[in-house]
């Protein structure tokens, strides 16, 4: 089946290193997305026409454009246009943050809109100031709704990093291909075994994360 090639030489370690590259890109992008997404999401709830208009266009672009096209635009197009040579990793983080910020902002906006008006009113009626209402009542509820949703975003990002091999980043999928190519003669059927192991690696990376989000969701359900 070709599993044996995995244990030849440094192959397994190389696969793990590839996974690490993917994780690094996605985690960095997630952190940037969460910070920028919260800011943008809060701006969106202000309902200022200019902000609403721009954010709508931004969200639509992210939804319509395949991530791969965005990767090509940033990595190849941007470099040609400006002469600035971005590394493939930097381009990947930019594209993933661009995508993640939009998703995150939409989640934040949704969570904020889902807090019933009565929560603001009853806090006000109890004598809380606006700031106290946000600190003690509104923001804790938003965070409880937001964290499980943003964890889902992390797992989706990890999965989507498989695209970055298209701009030459050697991540787990690329390493797998290299292993298959290198062993074409000795193990012509290695593809199944190698990709099965990659499947398992992605699963091991994403499953605990998605399980953790389910746990939080359950713990905080109202």
């Amino acid at each position: 089946m070709g599993i044996e090639v995995i244990f030849k030489g440094r192959n397994l370690i190389r696969l793990m290193e590839g996974l690490l590259v993917a994780m690094k890109i996605s985690l960095l992008s997630v952190v940037i997305s969460i910070v920028l997404g919260i800011i943008l999401g809060m701006l969106m709830t202000l309902k200022k026409p200019g902000i609403t208009f721009i954010s709508r266009i931004y969200l639509e672009i992210v939804r319509i454009m395949p991530q791969m096209v965005l990767l090509f635009i940033v990595y190849f197009g941007f470099a040609k246009m400006t002469g600035i040579n971005l590394s493939a990793e930097a381009s990947a983080v930019i594209v993933f943050s661009f995508w993640g910020t939009a998703e995150m902002a939409d989640l934040v906006r949704g969570c904020m809109a889902s807090i019933p008006k009565i929560q603001y009113e009853s806090s006000t009626a109890l004598g809380f100031t606006r700031l106290q209402t946000y600190v003690h009542v509104i923001i804790p509820q938003i965070i409880r709704r937001l964290i499980p949703l943003s964890i889902n975003l992390i797992t989706r990002m990890i999965k989507t990093t498989s695209l970055v091999m298209m701009i030459g980043i050697v991540e787990v999928l690329k390493v797998g291909q290299q292993i298959i190519e290198a062993n074409r003669k000795s193990a012509p059927n290695a593809a199944f075994g190698v990709f099965a192991v990659i499947f398992l690696l992605y699963f091991l990376a994403c499953w605990p994360i998605s399980h953790f989000s389910k746990y939080l969701e359950k713990k905080w359900e109202n």
């Binding site: 009565i118 006000t124 009626a125 109890l126 004598g127 106290q132 003690h136 804790p140 409880r144």
Partner: protein, 246 residues
């Protein structure tokens, strides 16, 4: 007895729509005023104006002779003195029952934690919910949640309590337990303004009945005359909708 709450020529508009027109009312200390009237007559808005949840276009609302609305920048201080319980369950879902009760006394009134906890536990005991103090609101029934909401208002030591159709969203079998709590408060001589559709309860609890229709006070009288011998056609018509005769 002295007036604790005074409303002078209150006018409230939503854009061009007049909701309340020239409402004047004086409430004495310890008085229980029940406000009734058809849906949309402005009675909920009236309550919300009293603690400044709604801005007003004209007139004045005074508590202990000091202006609450239009706000003079210190409305927060008055809100602590005016407790309000709403129709929908408005407990903080991320906090336990005892935390719900303690939050405002600790953060708004900066009271001592031990003392506040003790009072919260005593009040829960009184409404029969001691066993629920570490539960979350989602684990309580509607009637239990409303009883907690009443306690959450009480623990602030308000001078006036406002009840805005607190049983309207409850299942019928839970209405009683909430009304019993309010009745008990009436016995303690609390000053209360109660908006309700429960006519039998209104009759039992009220010292005075205000009948509103179309944003104005149509009748302001004692419960006996209002329910047995209403002075106006509008009140008669309103009361007849609660009877069910062939």
């Amino acid at each position: 007895m002295d007036e604790i709450l005074k409303i002078e020529h209150l006018n409230k508009k939503f854009d061009d729509l007049t909701v309340l027109e020239d409402i004047s009312l004086e409430v004495k200390k310890g008085e229980v005023v029940v406000v009734v009237g058809p849906s949309g007559c402005g009675k909920s808005t009236f309550l919300r104006c009293i603690n400044g949840l709604e801005t007003i276009q004209d007139g004045k609302i005074l508590l202990d002779g000091e202006t609450v609305n239009p706000p003079l920048g210190n409305i927060k201080n008055y809100r602590e003195k005016i407790g309000m319980v709403f129709q929908s369950y408005d407990l903080f879902p991320h906090k336990t029952i005892i935390e719900n009760l303690m939050l405002a006394p600790l953060k708004v009134q900066k009271r001592n934690k031990v003392e506040v906890r003790k009072e919260a536990e005593e009040l829960l005991e009184k409404v029969g919910l001691s066993s629920k103090k570490d539960n979350y609101p989602r684990q309580l029934s509607g009637g239990q949640k409303q009883r907690v909401a009443i306690v959450r208002a009480l623990i602030m030591h308000p001078e006036v309590l406002l009840f805005d159709e607190v049983t309207a969203a409850l299942d019928p079998e839970m209405v009683r337990e909430v009304l019993d709590v309010i009745m008990e408060l009436a016995r303690q001589n609390r000053t209360m303004l109660i908006v309700t559709h429960e006519m039998a309860f209104a009759k039992a609890v009220a010292d005075r009945v205000i009948f509103m229709d179309g944003g104005v006070i149509v009748e302001d009288t004692d419960p006996k005359s209002f329910f047995e011998n209403p002075a106006t056609e509008r009140a008669k018509k309103f009361l007849s909708t609660f009877e069910y005769n062939e």
